[in-house]
């Protein structure tokens, strides 16, 4: 188990910040930790990074206690904190070389350039970090987190400030890492799109508590927001718009049709029924749909109560 957290509680200044967090992560998992602002995501991360001590509950990272074995944990994990500050007067190469030395690693120039190229930074860039855009700094932060070849990556909003191409590149780096070297990635983000594309498991925090945890596909299939909404573009008007089970047309605007497919209907059955009804589909978009609804349903005050 990469991370095992059960019943984590934490009080700060006599205030209960975490009131029952559970998180379980296996090697190769990409785990999305979700929750509204102030739900306790960053605090949970600081506990598993060994920067804060839990008041109660069980916390294990790479089979170690992150508080008492902090230095060994830090040697084996890579972290991109939400506020990843840099030394603006250094350039990226000097910065990575210096950080690598803190991990007792002497990086050759070639290795540094590879590391920079992996995250999409110009490997020959000798400009001071102070001149970098936010997105470039984010990439450099990711390169820093990968310096010690970690078994576990803990990333707080890793695609913040990146353009769509940059986001896609970082997604590919993370997917490659989990596929090729079994690295586990704990992703803390507000971007449900990132979670949808990357994560195999998710946990949703609300008011310091885990309100749901599990495999993303299972939660979407059986969760309270079961079902999907699609936007379809048709080549011609359909023969039929009424369906017996599970499919419901929500709206139509020109060539575009919105419809819900209920949880009781498998996608294969739905598409077959649409074809039979003369739906000549040229484009399909999934809308908001499952994860967004699941998130919104579980993070309302009533849901938490």
């Amino acid at each position: 188990m990469l991370i095992e957290i059960d019943g984590l509680e934490l009080s700060l200044h006599q205030r209960l910040i975490l009131a029952g967090v559970n998180l379980h992560m296996q090697p190769g998992d990409i785990y999305g930790l979700l929750g509204p602002n102030g739900a306790g995501k960053s605090t949970t991360m600081s506990v598993l990074n060994g920067l804060r001590q839990a008041s109660s509950g069980h916390v294990s990272v790479l089979e170690m206690d992150p508080w008492t074995q902090r230095r060994e944990v830090h040697r084996q994990i890579g972290v991109l904190p939400e506020q990843a500050g840099f030394y603006d007067w250094m350039n990226a190469q000097d910065y990575l070389r210096w950080f690598a030395e803190l991990y007792d690693r002497a990086l050759a120039v070639g290795e540094i350039q590879l590391q920079l190229a992996q995250v999409g930074l110009d490997a020959k860039n000798a400009d001071p970090i102070g001149t970098y855009s936010r997105g470039m700094k984010q990439r450099l932060g990711l390169a820093r987190a990968l310096l010690n070849r970690p078994k576990l990556l803990v990333l707080d909003e890793p695609t913040n400030g990146l353009d769509p191409r940059g986001r896609r590149e970082i997604h590919d780096v993370l997917l490659g890492l989990t596929r090729e070297s079994g690295v586990g990635v704990l992703l803390c983000t507000h971007l449900l799109d990132d979670v949808d594309r990357l994560c195999t498991r998710i946990g949703i925090l609300h008011q310091g508590k885990t309100v749901v945890e599990g495999s993303l596909s299972e939660l979407l299939a059986g969760g309270p927001a079961a079902g999907m909404r699609y936007r379809l573009r048709l080549l011609a008007p359909p023969l039929r718009t009424e369906f017996a089970h599970g499919i419901r047309v929500v709206a139509q605007e020109g060539q575009w049709w919105r419809l819900d497919i209920g949880s009781g209907t498998s996608p294969q059955d739905a598409w077959r029924e649409l074809l039979d009804a003369g739906w000549a589909v040229s484009e399909i978009h999934r809308e908001g749909g499952g994860l967004e609804d699941l998130y919104l349903n579980l993070t309302t005050t009533e849901a938490a109560a």
Binding site: R52, R71, V79, P81, G85, Y87, W89, L102, Y103
Partner: protein, 250 residues
Amino acid sequence: MTSIGLIARKESGELLKSGRGLAWLLALSVILSVFSLLFVSNTELSLLDNAQVVYMVMGTITALGALLAVVLGSDAIAGERERGSLVPLLLTPVSTGDIVFGKMGGQAVAWVVTYFLSLPYLWAVGSSGQNLVEAVVYLALLGTPVVLGFGFFSLGLSARFGNVRAALITALIALMLLASPLLLGPGLRQSTIGKAFDTVNPFSAAVNSFDSVVIDSQPFSMQLGRFAVTLVWLILTLWFAGRSVRTVEI
């Protein structure tokens, strides 16, 4: 290189490699040049004797070193925290103690640079008079614990407050208080309170020792008590910094 050495290298690199960092060296040179010119012109007019000028330059260098140490110390923890670079540092396998000692190493490098930069000025004002060698030695011997003590004290404040501005203001007030003998001159230090303050004040210990050695040519045995006061100051501020770092909040 040890992790303490790596942190110290980064700290001193920030001061000596970056364009903005190097500005302090220019400012220091300008201040020392202006003071030296003032002192030399006064000596030429026979308004001050040569030993008196050397003593005053020594006090000025110690005060400038302490001022620099206060600025660096106030920024050491709180500045990194405010710029978001403290957490990545704490997430490395380097212990908090090593990070603090590395930062203290950076402060020591700044003082060493200040010290060597000031030597030509000391020579310029004192080469024709007495006790120049003693001045150079005593500036190192008593100036070092006083200056580093101010650095450690400010670092402790920086860790406790987590805010550069609060730490800097508090440390500057403490510096003004302890450096008051330099500002007020000997006349106001003859009262009972002034004498008592002089006895425990590390800055007074240093400047009184400079006076004793450079102007009155007294031996080292007469300076032992003053030397002890500066060492106690250094140890106390080191202890304060160590205690304060444990309170750092991320």
